[in-house]
Amino acid sequence: MKKNKITSFQYFTVFFFLLNAFIPMIGFHRLTMISKQDALFSILLGIGFMILFVLLIQNIYHYLPNQTIIEKIKILFPKSYLIFYLCIFLCIVSLLFFVTNEFTGFVHFYLLPQLDSFWITLPFLLLLFYFLQKPKESMFRTAEICFYLYLFFFIISVLGILPQSNFLKIKPLFSTGVRSIMESAFLFFLSLPLPFFLISYFPKNLLQEKTNGKKTWIQAIFWNGLYLFVTLFLILSSIGIHLANLYKNPLMITYQKISFLNILERVETTLSFSYILLYLFPLIFLIYVLKELILQLFPKQEKKKNLIVILILLTILLGNQFFTFRFDFYTIINLFLFFILLFLSMNIHLKKEE
């Protein structure tokens, strides 16, 4: 195995985790509120939209294989790149606040209700600091290890929820109409732009093998979609559509029902570990990209990159105490990133034609 290179599987796992962050960021209940049980079809339809979108903008990845997406923007728009940088900077900073906010809220509500949010965020940010000291290949390797753990927890939860399932609760299907299905499919699709932006930040030549990035993306989108489909199917069949719509986090309510032979019960806290991974990877990659963006803006500060990371983390820590964000905010930022990616892809296409 070559050092400083990442395997396509590690690349896949990172993209999978970033996509899977749909669960805590957007959440199943937002899909089921729009299209009830038909949200299952929305996920299938959303997979199609996602694959179409990545096929459409894959030229971003193939264009200048040694450069990061930030460098590509500078080359593409030598005069107006600062505007792009500013937009991306604002998007990333606000997303950092949003994700940290969601993470703190989750841990505070389900795991450590009596602990102040400051003390929840601080050790987590220290962990992030440790990660960001490591070379980027280590982050990908960590994702690979965590993927096996995540899969293990998924199998455990499926085995636990299946006996509680009543497949009749899935009925009636097709009760909400095409418009609702399309609406929730689009909402599901909006979980793609941020992961795609973060994963396509890394240059093509970082991959160890000369693998086709397109294939890895499609595999990650497909397996993530399948994972979410199975999870939503289990949620609906065990607690039903009405309770799924009632709770912000129906998956945790479903975990509460798990009981192995009436001996092993109350496993939701253990299973919620997998949830923490879904906050961890977006945060690591968001901070990493932000750090790189700052370094791109101030290239002479290369030696002070640790200081930059510390400043970012301190800003998150303090910002988390004062700001709270609505969910709409996440979708709006994703929509904005969607247009940025589309615009970049179009420009690369035009440049190639020239």
Binding site: Q114, L115, Y130, K171, P172, H242, L243, L246
Partner: protein, 328 residues
């Protein structure tokens, strides 16, 4: 770089001591039963806390009851916390007893309060208590006694039906109709049938006999005795056709008496139609029709009163090898 590592290591150790807010197990007051009543003064809460004490080397189980009264449910809970020398822990609560008054006046508030408590789980049982709550809690009856009584009667008589908070919520969310097992305390606990809830109020009470009929319709009978007929086994399957529902009931009984069969059919029909006329969907027929008519169902057109009911009862008498008769 080493400096950072040492710093991170040092700070991390501070967090390895565990949560600052941890509670020892013997400092927890694990609530077994919660009772909510409503009086002129407001909410009256009762909790039954179970604790184990070591005496002469043996573990002795003790049960302590606290009660508190206040205008709001939040304040009443706060009062309870002031009285207890332990941290009141609701996560292991097994049974919630509700009085008719609190159901009729503040059921929505109670549900909202319970939904917003992070340490409350959804799997506790709900019961409507017909007797004075104070008397019930003074007897230190454990949740296990309530739950076992309901479970046994449901399983071997069909005279009641248990319900968890999760089921209760789901039923309410479907069409605002649900039920609660009704229990009375008069020197001992006694099943009184089912209390029907509609629009967050007590709508009617089903007698134990009517509850058997309801359980037959819901395919929820394991064993029962209805009038003179002993039911050993029952299976009810519903068949849906446009505006008609046919109940195919297959029973294994002690005696194949045609008059009993007719009587049962009449009773079932009467029970369903009487509630149908009052607009109470006893077995959630509209919802079930919606679930089973995938494309042809138009929710707005189907009204409870328009659903035609048909019954097909098949009674099979099973051989009773122990049957003896006195030679007269």
């Amino acid at each position: 770089m080493k400096k950072y590592k040492i710093l991170i290591l040092f700070v991390s150790f501070l967090f390895l001591t565990g949560c600052s807010s941890y509670t020892e197990l013997n400092e927890l007051g694990i609530v077994d039963t919660l009772g909510i009543d409503y009086t002129e003064k407001g909410y009256h809460l009762y909790i039954n806390i179970t604790e184990g004490n070591q005496e002469d080397g043996t573990l002795k189980k003790d049960s302590i009851t606290y009660d508190a009264e206040s205008k709001t449910i939040q304040q009443a809970f706060h009062q309870l916390y002031l009285k207890s020398n332990k941290k009141i822990y609701l996560s292991h609560m097994n049974t919630l007893l509700l009085s008719e008054k609190v159901i009729n006046q503040h059921l929505k508030d109670v549900i909202t309060y319970l939904l917003n408590q992070r340490d409350i789980r959804n799997n506790f049982h709900l019961i409507q208590m017909e007797s004075d709550m104070k008397e019930v809690f003074s007897k230190e009856i454990e949740a296990k006694d309530f739950n076992e009584l309901i479970k046994m009667n449901e399983q071997y008589m069909g005279t009641t039906k248990s319900i968890t908070f999760e089921q209760f919520l789901e039923e309410l969310l479907i069409d605002q109709n649900t039920y609660l097992p009704l229990v009375k305390y008069k020197q001992e606990l006694e099943i009184q049938g089912l209390s029907l809830i509609k629009d967050f109020k007590v709508f009617d009470v089903l007698s134990p006999n009517d509850t058997i009929l309801l359980n037959i319709l819901n395919n929820n009978i394991h064993q029962s005795i209805y009038h003179d007929t002993t039911i050993y086994k029952n299976q009810t399957v519903l068949e849906y056709q446009k505006n008609q529902v046919t109940f195919h009931i297959q029973m294994e009984v002690n005696d194949k008496d045609t008059s009993e069969k007719k009587q049962l059919e009449e009773d079932l029909k009467e029970l369903l139609t009487s509630y149908q006329e009052q607009g109470y969907d006893l077995i959630k027929l509209v919802y079930q029709m919606k679930q089973n008519h995938l494309f042809s169902f138009n929710e707005d057109k189907i009204l409870l009163n328009n659903i035609h009911l048909k019954f097909q009862i098949h009674m099979n008498a099973i051989d009773n090898y122990l049957e003896r008769s006195l030679p007269l």
